[in-house]
């Protein structure tokens, strides 16, 4: 069960495959990065990073985009940034990073999932909410969870 407003916005962005719901809001953007890290690490951790090059090429070809240009380099960099190479994303605007993350998460969900996309999206967001609450609490010390209605 999604427990935060940010989680709902991230889920909407994944379902609609656009960053519109998240916009420039910092908390959903942080949660999306965690969803992305979970999805990428569960698919690529421990594998040769050169497999990411092949994955990105296939992804861009499936989407009708050029598979060997700047979009390929930036997509690979964003993926590898959550596998221990954060410096690779220097110079890629935040909004473009977010767009790449949404495309990759939704694609991995479709290609790796055995159940429905929707169920996997929810599971990813729940997992990410837990990780954010556990490892990266907000600076004001309050929990990420919404207040329960009285």
């Amino acid at each position: 069960m999604i427990t935060t407003r940010a989680g709902e916005l991230v889920l909407t962005s994944l379902r609609e495959e656009t960053r519109a719901a998240i916009g420039d809001l910092p908390v959903p953007a942080r949660l999306l990065r965690e969803v992305f890290a979970v999805a990428v690490r569960r698919c690529f951790a421990g594998r040769d990073p050169r497999e990411i090059t092949g994955y990105v090429r296939d992804l861009l070809l499936r989407r009708g985009a050029r598979p060997d240009g700047a979009e390929a380099r930036e997509s690979e960099a964003v993926i590898r940034s959550v596998l221990g190479e954060p410096e690779l994303v220097a110079g890629i605007p935040d909004q473009h990073r977010t767009a790449i993350m949404i495309v990759v998460i939704t694609d991995l969900a479709r290609t790796e999932a055995t159940g429905s996309d929707a169920a996997l999206f929810e599971a990813l967001v729940e997992h990410a909410e837990l990780r954010v609450a556990r490892f990266d609490p907000p600076p004001n010390g309050r929990p990420w969870t919404r207040k329960r209605p009285r």
Partner: protein, 138 residues
Amino acid sequence: MTATHRVDAARRPATPTGRHLRAIALNDRAGDLPGGPALAVFARAFTAAVRLRFRPDTPLIAVAGSVAAAARRHAALALPVREAEMLIREALGEAAPTAGISATQAMVVHMVMFAALVDELALTDDEIDELIADAEVS
């Protein structure tokens, strides 16, 4: 390359481009950058240095480490790190995504990474000369 590697001392960079690259690699005064097709010497010297430094199956983390170190060392030159890694991987024979890299970006990568890689390999001046001279004639 070993400590006993023999170099023909007569083989020195003979073109302005080669001498420019030599000056950069040895941290000497380089003067104005030559232009035009002579810049292909940079690309060939870069490829030779890459193939000396890395094997085709080198872990990418090692390639990325060399690029990151070069970017830090030559921060003022704004080395494009993603493009640098992909050009190195292409030089190693991989089908890396290198389309759309501008001539200026490629030239910066070739110069900076050549200097960085020959430094990592601790090549002697004569060995650097030989690499550049080979790039001038091939």
